[in-house]
């Protein structure tokens, strides 16, 4: 472990909704200010920012609004939803190596009120997308459905099992006042819902959400002097895996192995903690099959068992072996490219989740695994 350890000292968020009228930059400012207030820090303390590269708010734009004096470290993370936890990994590396003291990471999104990225595909398709979009494989849901069908063939994953993933996470959302999708859903309701891209249905897909979440990273030493109990960045990792294509990842050795497999190897190499030590997990859930894959690739169960775990209730709070997405995740709380999974991971370690795992001291948070991905293992101090 590095001489300096990094920790999360503050989290902040706006409300989540299908449509928020305020501009994206305003939401970013609100979440950042809330995270700094939570950490007991002022904008003058911020000296670094790490940002998603699909974020429309520039770091210096946010810095100008907050009145930050100087960013002495700044970076962007690529790969869309795969880069969420990577912002924390880069922030931790900056803190551990003395390049920054207080790093602000955030995601502000007006998805519901803006145009979807896939909907910009039009006419002649350039770049690597020319090999699948002209055939109509244009939306993320189509691209994941192709993997999911093969996954069902190779490992026996069933539609009922995917339904259990969606229903379990929905039940968690129903306990969370901030969640935006809290309608009752059982597996029969799930199976009766319409297909978007067979074999995936509407409830297999994440929400369309507006909102923002921000996270403040600093050294563990400094965090111990701040109001909130520090949440230690026990391990951070990224991974691409071989021959990876974003989303339509069909040309490498296995289309059912995601970049999470490589990310998991790095994550566990950097800590003595093991999957069995994890109290709950916040797994990237843009689509239900990604949750099943992550359960297996991060080492909680064997290949082919993720769906079985879901059906057996192992992902459910409070009784399951590994409660998953305890705030409702991207499927039922809000879809902010996974940043609300990070804040929920922090709440679990602090003991303030609305579906609190008693004494949670080790929490896994993962980012999008249909693309080069990242993950963080969060832990309590001492």
């Amino acid at each position: 472990m590095a001489a300096t350890t990094a920790a999360i000292a503050g989290i902040g968020q706006t409300e989540f909704a299908k449509v928020i009228e305020r501009p994206e930059v305003t939401l970013a400012c609100e979440a950042a200010a809330a995270a700094l207030a939570d950490a007991g820090l002022a904008p003058a303390d911020v000296d670094a920012m790490v940002r998603f590269d699909l974020e429309t708010t520039q770091d210096i734009e946010l810095a100008r609004n907050l009145g930050v004096e100087n960013l002495r470290f700044f970076a962007d993370t690529p790969h869309g939803g795969g880069g969420g936890c990577a912002t924390l990994g880069i922030a931790a590396a900056a803190v551990e190596t003395g390049r920054a003291d207080v790093v602000l990471c955030w995601r502000s999104r007006k998805r519901g009120s803006g145009r979807r990225p896939w909907a910009t595909n039009d006419g002649a398709i350039a770049g690597e997308k020319q090999y699948w979009v002209p055939f109509g494989l244009a939306r993320p849901v189509d691209q994941v459905a192709m993997m999911a069908r093969r996954y069902m063939h190779e490992y026996g994953l069933t539609e009922v099992q995917l339904g259990h993933v969606a229903c379990t996470i929905r039940a968690h959302a129903q306990r969370n006042p901030a969640a935006t999708m809290t309608k009752d859903m059982d597996v029969a309701t799930y199976l009766a819902s319409r297909f978007v891209s067979e074999p995936l249905r509407v409830p297999d897909c994440c929400l369309e959400s507006d909102g923002a979440v921000a996270v403040v990273v600093t050294s563990l030493e400094r965090a111990r002097d701040l109001p909130q109990a520090p949440v230690v960045l026990v391990s951070t990792a990224m991974g691409s895996g071989p021959q990876t294509v974003g989303m339509a990842n069909y040309f490498g050795p296995s289309i059912t192995t995601s970049p999470a497999a490589a990310c998991a190897t790095s994550l566990w190499e950097r800590t003595d903690r093991r999957p069995a030590d994890v109290d709950c997990a916040q797994l990237y859930d843009a689509f239900t099959p990604l949750v099943v894959q992550s359960l297996e690739e991060y080492g909680f169960c064997e290949r082919g068992e993720g769906g079985v775990w879901a059906e057996a209730g192992e992902l459910a709070w409070p009784s399951g072996r590994l409660p998953v997405n305890t705030s409702g995740g991207g499927l039922s709380e809000a879809y902010l490219h996974g940043f609300n999974l990070i804040s929920e991971g922090v709440r679990q370690v602090r003991g303030t989740s609305t579906s609190q795992v008693p004494g949670a001291s080790t929490v896994l948070v993962t980012s999008g695994n249909g693309v080069p991905t990242s993950a963080v293992l969060l832990g309590s101090d001492r």
């Binding site: 039009d122 002209p134 993997m147 289309i255």
Partner: protein, 138 residues
């Protein structure tokens, strides 16, 4: 599969690397980029062989055979260019040459089963673009 409702169809925009592949498609010929040095096929097209690092390659005729590797059926909401085509089956096939390709399904295929043999067919999308499609063989 011509223009629908004034919306231009989705077509690939060939670049320097991919042009030979799409040019062959326009002639209804399926070709596979093959490394001159190590002889291994690759898809999607790219400048360098990921197996041996050679920049030299040829475009070898493929047999036109494949097996069904996976498939989806897209339903609304879809891009305007696809609105008249849903529900739209899209397939992933594996070629004996050792590569996988995304493609459309040719005709009314009936029941699809992973592993079933497929045969290439062609769809002329525009005057300058044909795309490979696949129909169950035999």
């Amino acid at each position: 599969m011509s223009e629908t409702g004034g919306v231009p169809p989705l077509v690939p925009e060939p670049d320097q690397v991919s042009a030979p592949f799409w040019d062959a498609c326009r002639r209804h010929e399926l070709v596979v980029q093959t490394c001159t040095a190590c002889g291994r096929a690759r898809y999607h097209p790219r400048p360098m062989c990921p197996h041996c690092g050679s920049m030299e390659h040829t475009w070898e005729p493929a047999s036109g055979d494949a097996v069904l590797y996976s498939w989806v059926v897209a339903h609304r909401p879809v891009l305007p260019a696809l609105a008249d085509r849903v529900p739209l089956p899209i397939v992933l096939v594996e070629l004996p040459e050792g590569v996988r390709m995304v493609g459309n399904l040719a005709g009314d295929a009936g029941e699809l089963v992973i592993g079933m043999p497929m045969r290439v067919a062609w769809v002329d999308v525009t005057g300058t673009c044909a795309l490979p499609a696949w129909r169950p063989a035999g």
